[in-house]
Symmetry: C2
Subunit: 274 residues, 2 copies
Amino acid sequence: MLINGKPETSVSADDRGIQYGDGLFETLAVRDGRPCLWHYHLERLHNGCQRLNIPLPNESLLYDELIREIGEQSQGVVKVIVTRGPGGRGYRPPQESSATRIIRWSESPNYPEANYQQGIVTRLCSTRLGWNPALAGIKHLNRLEQVLARSEWSDPSIQEGLMMDSSGYVVEGTMSNLFVVQNGRLMTPDLSRCGVAGIMQGVVLRVAEALAIPVIVDNVTLHDLWNADALFVTNSLIGLWPVRELSGQAFDVSVIPRELISRVMLQAYAHALS
Amino acid sequence: MLINGKPETSVSADDRGIQYGDGLFETLAVRDGRPCLWHYHLERLHNGCQRLNIPLPNESLLYDELIREIGEQSQGVVKVIVTRGPGGRGYRPPQESSATRIIRWSESPNYPEANYQQGIVTRLCSTRLGWNPALAGIKHLNRLEQVLARSEWSDPSIQEGLMMDSSGYVVEGTMSNLFVVQNGRLMTPDLSRCGVAGIMQGVVLRVAEALAIPVIVDNVTLHDLWNADALFVTNSLIGLWPVRELSGQAFDVSVIPRELISRVMLQAYAHALS
């Protein structure tokens, strides 16, 4: 682990990351010793820093630290946390803050191949996402909603839970974005009120455009789910997983265009885009 | 600063407090070397631990650590943070977690006497509170909404900002609870969807009952604010501040019953209740 460029394992207890969850993070797949889709992750981190008014760490410094932390490892995960840093009495951010950078390597999760081929089993979570346009889209450190939602089940045969917002619209998975396939079109939830704008969600949108598959970004209802031809979820580590079951209802994973899946998986681990 | 009972200043960067804001806190006034209203703070912390399924630290251990951290100091502030502790891959809490305790002394904020006598100037924040019944009431570490709201102004003549929820109901101040006085009654926002159930808010409710002042806990609208006879805010450090101005509209602080204020201020710093 590198903290502000130094090999350390702890941060100041004064850090606003721990005091208020005042910061952002990115989780990147590593292939052939390189972080995948780095520029997209950096763009979202940059956007998050602007929204929270946290000074963005120097980009090349951050990239160098990623490479140092990856070291001789070839395949795995690297997580970047950027907080507003220490200090400030109460909620008000200090006038001059100096961001804390935490960069940490971890092993590949080694997801079963069946998740990709046969699809995954999902459930609906009862924990809802609150609306907050000021925080929507960015990957900030206030993640109790996801922690509570992921605490709802322990059955290892269920790989993901889908979450609704306080109005009952379906927004995302606890750790993934959601796509609905119907009548040859894709639909994915509007994330302007809550949810995280996933890097892999962005990849799917671009691949779909290249393949001339129509995509609708809008409110998604439970009715949309139950009437879907197929569902799939995406994130930076998994790439794309078809959904074969949601709360007991089966879905036909073969409906998802093969070409879409293969192109998304190819780009998921691309350095050309990094 | 004491971390898990030891005089340290840093926590593991793996701690779920920094990873996800996965924890709770309490901020207590200290008078005559003792934490005020300790049992009420402990009760809320206990409630928060139950809601988040975090093991509550041993109560007498926690109190002993508070007393150790206060040491020879007579008057000031002591803050307690309890996180779910280190570990767990992703959002799912580890099956056996061991909570982290961070206890930290700080000096008294020394609020101006005028805040108590003449009242404070307040504004309406544009940052809204999202609805989340699963997190409402407890004092958890996901505080970006408050950080953003408190970032909206830097004018030192404004002491507090009031926040609405995503439906436009008025919920609380960035660091305080809100009371509306009208026709001899008190009204305070319903906190079942968002907001923090303040210890001092509880004191006001009990004092009002003792004084036979009727209190309504319900949705509070902007209309209720503009038509109020008086407003005041409360928290554990300030006790009670009358509001003399909200976004340019003046309020008559003398409308707030003197007996209510004096009894609340007396209880705010009581050890008899600790």
